[in-house]
Amino acid sequence: MSNADASETTLRLERLIPSPPEVLFALWTQPAQLVRWWAPEGYEAAVHDLDARPGGRWRVTMRRSDGGVVATSGVYRIVEPPRRLVFTWAWEDESGARGHETEVMVSFEATPGGTRVVLLQRRFESKQARDNHNVGWSACLDRQTKIVG
């Protein structure tokens, strides 16, 4: 994967949210909080695993009103309350097959009005590709944080 196609493999979203980083970090890492916003309207989210520490697994299922279930799951890489969270992320379809591996970084930067939330998601074509990129990813995150800050 070259940097040339980064625009097609990396998603970046930024929000200014008028709440402190601690409140937002808890919404991402506490199961009872996460289920309240994780799934689209009309879906019911349930946390099956959520071990918010490096190497810990997470898995959240989403049940549609017609009974169909999809899930998202992955492994935490970096957990730095209340500033930063990095985890792998993939959709699981109704047969349980896991889609493309991606990695998500969410950073929470305190601002005078609340928090600047930056979400970065990178797509990898395989687990191996993801593992190979882990070193570069951390450096990339630091750069992003600097650009943002």
Binding site: E8, T9, L11, L13, R15, I17, P18, S19, P20, V23, L24, L27, W28, Q33, R36, W37, W38, P40, E41, G42, Y43, R64, S65, D66, V70, H100, T102, G114, V117, L119, Q121, R123
Partner: protein
């Protein structure tokens, strides 16, 4: 994966080839969820014709129905355009909606500051 996708692509493109059905999808994307009656409202065609269009969209996996008492609601499925969209477009929509929900919840948990 690609082989499993092909029949789905055919039905998605087939469903979206019709201007009325595209207009229905546009309407649902803008509104979120609508009752079947509200979907039909701006169209100068019969309720049966709308119903047929909805069936085609549902079979293509583009919309889903929800029944609440006597009301029938339809909305675009979260994974509706998966076969035709880029990964990034899909994820962007997913996270944008998720962050909206997160933000609303965070607001409810954040004490309001008094204005001095």
């Amino acid at each position: 994966m690609a082989a499993a996708l092909a029949p789905r692509l055919d039905s998605v493109f087939g469903a979206l080839a019709d201007p009325t059905r595209r207009a229905i999808i546009d309407r649902l994307l803008a509104a979120g969820e609508l009752s079947v009656g509200d979907v039909a409202a701006p169209f100068a065609i019969s309720a049966q014709a709308i119903s047929r269009h909805l069936q085609v969209l549902e079979r293509a996996g583009l919309i889903e129905r929800r029944i609440e008492r006597q009301w029938r609601f339809v909305r675009v499925r979260a994974d509706a355009l998966e076969p035709v969209e880029s990964w990034i477009t899909r994820q962007k929509r997913h996270w944008t909606a998720a962050l909206d929900r997160l933000e609303a919840l965070a607001a409810a948990q954040t004490p309001k500051r008094r204005k001095s």
